[in-house]
Every structure is written in structure tokens, then in C-alpha cells.
């Protein structure tokens, strides 16, 4: 990567007729312009796709993605629970949390979004406890305050939990964690370990 071609905000990257709009860019008049500073990435149109022939121009974000969007996988920590929902702070974005958020984003997992099956039987208290680290996916931007998340997939749910006695626990089934030093088991919506 010697001397990548760096664009600055406002820099014209090409005509909009011959290029596809990628991330970190915007349109001005008929021109495609950069909106952040970073290296220019050109993705060749795949041959199979017939509809778009033009190459897609985007600017790589040196800062990483900044905000959760619908469909983003996130990692966060449960901050409070009640029978209808669990409150969670989004701490990192991406399946392995590649992008760490500077400020936690408040979010909610509603009771009906915890599990895919037997939705009506799910109990929040048996799925999450305050302090659990949870992997979830953003399903909506939510209300003025919180994003709405879902853990209704096998690989989503609690990934790390601490027992009542303050010990790190290990998952022992799809719905239980175990404290190895006391042997006590606690109910959780466990994310399937991979």
C-alpha cells in the first residue's frame, strides 16, 4: 500500500454518470465528490451483475463506522432489565466488535426479540442479567433514545457472563452458563460459541 491515493472532503472523484456512489462520498451537481478524507477505493463491477456496470467509488473510513445502522452486529453490556425488555449499552460495532464506540449507544432488546422460537415463553430475567456481554443485531433505529436490537439467532445472545459470586462463567448449553468454581448454573440466552 505505498502511497495510496488520498481524497479530501469536497474533492471531485469523477462524473456521477460513470461511477457508482459508495460510502464516504456524495453527489454535487453531476459530480461524485468525497465527503471524508481517506484512501479512494474502486470496486470493479462484478460481471454477473447486469444492472450496474459502473465501478463503485468509495472512501475508506480511517475512523471505522461511527454509528450503528440497521443490520449492524453489535456487542454491548446489559445495564438494566425489567419483565418487558432489557436495556443495553452498545459498546462496539461489528461481529467481533472491530470498531469500538467512544460513547456507548443506548439500546433495548424487547422481550419478543430475544429468541426466535416460543417467543411468548421467553422471560427477560432468564435471558439476561445486568453486566452480561451480549452480541445482538440492530433491527431498528428505535425511538428518540434507544436503538432496538434482536438476539433471535443462534449466534446471538450472551457471550460473556459473570456469576452471582463474581466469577467468569462458561456456557454449558443453549440456555445455561456455569460458574466453574462453584458449579452453580444460571439461565441465559446463550450465543452459540463458534
Amino acid at each position: 500500500m505505498s502511497g495510496p491515493n488520498i481524497a479530501l472532503p469536497g474533492q471531485i472523484l469523477g462524473a456521477s454518470s460513470s461511477n457508482e456512489l459508495g460510502s464516504g462520498t456524495h453527489l454535487h451537481n453531476d459530480q461524485l465528490c468525497a465527503s471524508i478524507s481517506g484512501p479512494i477505493l474502486t470496486s470493479k463491477p462484478s460481471n454477473s451483475s447486469k444492472t450496474s456496470k459502473a465501478p463503485k467509488l468509495s472512501i475508506s473510513r480511517t475512523t471505522g463506522n461511527l454509528l450503528p445502522e440497521v443490520g449492524t452486529t453489535i456487542l454491548g453490556k446489559i445495564t438494566r432489565t425489567n419483565p418487558r425488555q432489557a436495556n443495553i449499552s452498545i459498546l462496539a460495532l461489528g461481529p467481533t466488535g472491530e470498531h469500538v464506540c467512544r460513547d456507548p449507544f443506548p439500546a433495548i432488546i424487547r422481550q419478543q426479540d430475544i429468541r426466535a422460537t416460543e417467543i411468548d415463553k421467553v422471560k427477560v430475567a432468564e435471558s439476561f442479567r445486568v453486566g452480561d456481554v451480549v452480541r445482538a443485531v440492530v433491527i431498528s433505529l428505535g425511538d428518540e433514545r434507544s436503538y432496538y436490537l434482536s438476539t433471535a439467532k443462534n449466534e446471538l445472545g450472551v457471550v460473556m457472563a459473570v456469576s452471582e459470586w463474581g466469577n467468569q462463567m462458561v456456557p454449558v448449553s443453549w440456555r445455561e452458563f456455569m460458574d466453574e468454581s462453584t458449579g452453580a448454573r444460571e439461565a441465559r440466552k446463550v450465543a452459540k460459541p463458534v
Partner: protein
């Protein structure tokens, strides 16, 4: 390791993510490693090396910019004049000379954190408890160390002889006014241990301070100052207080047995470490103003939160602080 997304999300996290999600285990893992290193790459007892710049502010009588790691503090000292006749309640005669600065309020330090120096300190808000405590502690160190000589702040006037005076009596010298030093400390970037950095900035700025020559003008009945540089004199600090702070990271919990708890002393904790440490210790050593001069004495030992730091640990930290103090004095002396 960050790229195993294709095989599905596994439970390996990049470092930063690990630190964010479970900060305690993250720090613990570093400290428990067979060659323990703090996540910031420092040894347990290693302080960050400060860089000090002085005299860069045009409108201050003395100034300093201190950068300690990612904590940056700028301090400006400005002298203004307090007329003795304006003091509503003059100090009583039995006041000890060295307490005059405090009694009259001639040193006014204020530390401001609401400069956007970290996401937690956004402007437009009044000073937080933290900022207020820091201002208080700095003023306490300046007063208790008696590092500012009250004579440096006096503006005296020798009254002309009148007929009532006895001919042999020496001319009467009265203090017409005092310099008041406004010490404004702005924290521009905060990554832990604001106190050590702020106190260092204050002492560096005070050492850099020069006050113009000032005299009482009986005709105008006011104080005049000389703009000539060669007339001015610098403030001579009689002592040099240097602070060294430590934080304790501990696995102690009210849910666990006492014997199981492990604790580590971290010198000069950064912002990440500070969040995880409840117990803190600050040692302020006071010594002669220049490198190697004078004897070092302990000015302050302040510890709160937690139960790890007892007498022995304090002893250890005082020794580390003593080494730290000579390092700092060398850094300042080289200016």
C-alpha cells in the same frame, strides 16, 4: 484474528474491544502475565515522562504547557494588584508572615476541565466535583508548602519624613499593595492523573513568572509599574512541591475471601486505569527549588478508597515519589 468474520463470529476480540467490553479482566490479564506490562506498555512503577514548555503565552506573567502522555495542561499566571486599603479585614499582627499569602488570598488557582478535554467534560457546565477538588488540592499545596514568599508579593512604600517623626528614626516602610497571582489552569487533553500534571504546570509557570517593578505613586495615589524588562524580577519559589500519584487495581470484592484478593500499584495511572481503580494515593514531596538543592521532606500523603495501601506500601510509594521528584526537577532544571 480480527478477520475471522467469515467463519462466523467467534469469541476472539481485538484488544480495544476486549478492553471496552470487559475492562477489568483485560487489565487483570496484563498484570497477571508472566512478564507483566500495563496495557499502555508501561511497567507498574513507571511514570510517563513529561514535556514542559514555558513562556509561550503572551499575556501572562508566567506560563507553562505540560504534556504527560495524553494529558495536556496549560497554565497561565497573571499578576494583578490588591491595594492594602481595599482589604476589608487586615490581617492581625500575630499572623505568621508565611501565612500571609493564604490569609489575604493572594494566590488564586483555578483548574478548568470543561474544555472538551475528554468526552466526559463538555463545556457550558459549571466545574464538576472533580475540577473543584483539583483546584482545592492545588491551592492547598501552594499554601501548605509556603513556596511563594510573601515578600515577593509586597509593594512597599517608604513614607517621607514628617515633622512628627523623631529625627533618628529610620524611615517608615509600609506595604501599600500586594500582587495577587491568578493561576488559571486549563486541561486541554485528559488521560488520567490530572493532578500531577496540573501541579507540575503550576510550578513550572510560577518559576517562569516575572513581576514588573511596581511602586506607590503618592501623587496619583495608585500603583504604577515599570514596563522595562530589566526592572522586573522573577518570582523565586522557596520550595518545589512535586506530586506523584498512584492507583491501586485490586481483585478484592466483598463477595470473596480477603486472602484471595490481589492488588497492583500503578504509578501515574492513565484514564483507562483510573476508571478501574478505586484506591488512590498521592504523595507530594517538597524540596529546594533547584536540582539537588535542599533536603526533601514530605508535604502531603493523601490516600482514599480501598484498603490495600497501608504503611508499607506507602513507604514504597514515597521512595518511588522521591525518584520521580528528582526526575521532574531535572526536566525543569534543563529549561
Amino acid at each position: 484474528m480480527a478477520n475471522d468474520a467469515e467463519t462466523g463470529p467467534g469469541l476472539t476480540f481485538p484488544q480495544d474491544t476486549f478492553a471496552k467490553l470487559t475492562p477489568r479482566p483485560y487489565l487483570l490479564a496484563h498484570l497477571k502475565h508472566k512478564t507483566p506490562v500495563r496495557p499502555n506498555g508501561r511497567q507498574q512503577n513507571e511514570f510517563r515522562q513529561p514535556t514542559i514548555n514555558t513562556g509561550s503565552l503572551t499575556h501572562s506573567n508566567g506560563s507553562a504547557v505540560v504534556r504527560v502522555g495524553d494529558t495536556a495542561v496549560v497554565c497561565g499566571v497573571r499578576g494583578e494588584i490588591l491595594l492594602a486599603s481595599d482589604i476589608p479585614h487586615p490581617p492581625s499582627d500575630d499572623l505568621e508572615e508565611q501565612d500571609l499569602v493564604e490569609e489575604l488570598g493572594l494566590v488564586v488557582p483555578n483548574l478548568e476541565l470543561s474544555t472538551g478535554c475528554s468526552p466526559a467534560h463538555i463545556p457550558g457546565n459549571p466545574p464538576t466535583s472533580l475540577a473543584q477538588s483539583l483546584s482545592y488540592r492545588i491551592s492547598a499545596v501552594l499554601h501548605d508548602s509556603h513556596c511563594i514568599n510573601p515578600d515577593d508579593l509586597r509593594i512597599n512604600y517608604t513614607e517621607p519624613k514628617t515633622e512628627d517623626d523623631l529625627p533618628d528614626e529610620p524611615p517608615k516602610e509600609v506595604t501599600k499593595a500586594y500582587w495577587t497571582l491568578y493561576i488559571d489552569i486549563l486541561c486541554l487533553a485528559l488521560d488520567g492523573n490530572a493532578f500531577d500534571a496540573a501541579l507540575l504546570a503550576v510550578t513550572a509557570a510560577l518559576r517562569d513568572t516575572t513581576l514588573p517593578k511596581a511602586w506607590w505613586d503618592p501623587d496619583r495615589e495608585s500603583i504604577l509599574c515599570s514596563p522595562v524588562v530589566s526592572d522586573s524580577r522573577s518570582l523565586r519559589l522557596s520550595t518545589m512541591p512535586v506530586a506523584s500519584s498512584f492507583a491501586v487495581f485490586s481483585t478484592a470484592s466483598h463477595l470473596k475471601k480477603r486472602e484471595e484478593a490481589q492488588s497492583w500499584i500503578l504509578a501515574d495511572a492513565d484514564g483507562f486505569e483510573e476508571e478501574l481503580c478505586d484506591e488512590t494515593l498521592t504523595v507530594v514531596l517538597n524540596s529546594g527549588p533547584s536540582t539537588g538543592s535542599g533536603t526533601t521532606s514530605i508535604l502531603k500523603i493523601e490516600k482514599t478508597g480501598g484498603t490495600y495501601i497501608g504503611k508499607d506500601v506507602t513507604d514504597l510509594c514515597v521512595r518511588q515519589a522521591s525518584k520521580r521528584t528528582s526526575d521532574i526537577k531535572t526536566a525543569l532544571g534543563n529549561r
